[in-house]
Symmetry: C2
Subunit: 216 residues, 2 copies
């Protein structure tokens, strides 16, 4: 039996692939591992059954035999360790690829989430206009640093791998912010990720879920 992951029954991003199951779907597609999906509603995510899988009541989770996992970073790392294609063979390069996964999640994603959440939920607040430039500036600092690192390389560190998969999904959250346009090198990096056939298959799979939900 293939592993089973969970995803939103009806994704709040309307199928744009911003939910965190996208990372796991993409990883499965890169390594050629079939998977099953169990859809959960927002209400069911907070119920004991789902909390037994994910103490913080979120998606995605991963179940394979007697192993149950949560956290997209941990799930992608687990997939990458079990299959060829997402981590280099060389020991040092492997550890560096994992470092880029952590960098995507702990250094680059937090200011991006802070900005995009404010754009969604604080737009009508009195402070929005004054805080927005501050939040954008924090993201720009990271984009500038990342842009200098990537320079004219295709990927973060040698061949495409789990670090790139994570970083591209994190950067895609900026799609509606306008900030990616200021960093053509980063925009091209994200586009390279999105052009991978495995990304397209994963994207289409999550979009199909949204379309089915919106027609029912």
């Amino acid at each position: 039996m293939p592993p089973t992951i969970t995803a939103f029954e009806s994704s709040p991003d309307r199928g744009r692939g911003q939910a965190r199951d996208m990372r796991v779907r993409w990883a499965f597609e890169e390594v050629g591992q079939p998977y099953d999906v169990r859809l959960v509603s927002f209400a069911a995510m907070k119920e004991p059954t789902h909390r037994a899988r994910h103490p913080f009541g979120q998606i995605p989770t991963y179940e394979d035999g007697d192993l149950t996992l949560f956290e997209s970073g941990a799930i992608v790392l687990h997939i990458a360790e079990r299959h060829d294609g997402l981590l280099p063979k060389d020991a040092n390069a492997r550890v560096r690829a994992i470092a880029w996964m952590f960098a995507a999640l702990s250094t680059v994603e937090p200011p991006i989430v802070e900005l995009t959440m404010a754009m969604l939920f604080e737009r009508d607040k009195s402070w929005y206009a004054e805080r927005l430039p501050m939040l954008q500036e924090r993201v720009r600092v990271r984009l500038g640093e990342l842009s200098r690192h990537i320079s004219d390389a295709d990927w973060l560190d040698g061949a495409f791998g789990a670090g790139d998969l994570m970083m591209v999904t994190v950067l895609r959250r900026l799609n509606t912010s306008g900030l990616l346009d200021e960093y053509p090198g980063i925009a091209a990096y994200v586009a390279r990720g999105e052009a991978r056939p495995a990304f397209r298959r994963a994207f289409d799979a999550q979009l199909a879920v949204f379309k089915a939900a919106s027609q029912s």
Copy 2:
């Protein structure tokens, strides 16, 4: 030669062990691995020499022979994989411990950093009083969920490990927020972590750096 890490020449937390080198020091102490420390100034962190180690110009970094690493999560995981004591032997339990590292860094830490940064840098803003309860509430959601998970256990999943090490350092950031007092189970969990001899040794080592810097 032991591995070399970098740490703040003069820590902005005045030796309270909130800087991210603390996590790496603690991991070294848990596994009994000696290490060297290279202190860097805020100016030096943004120079090309340090950026070659850490593209985002932060601490800590890790150097061991021809391997250079950044991101505290990746460094702690690397130490945990190379030495006994921070990851279980059982394959599934090992993967779950790594999931807790990711949970600490991607699910629990971001709202905590957002709150503590606002408490430091937005206290004089017109919106501070209105935004503060919202930021506190986001942290409370995570603390409540974590509290239910820990329940009356000592650690997150079986014996103490890398996931606990990460989670305790993340929760310690709330020391001055008053929020830990609302969750006695979490406060006791953090105290259990801080009571470990390896934590004390790591804490004393980073405090000694701050004391030496403030006397010079």
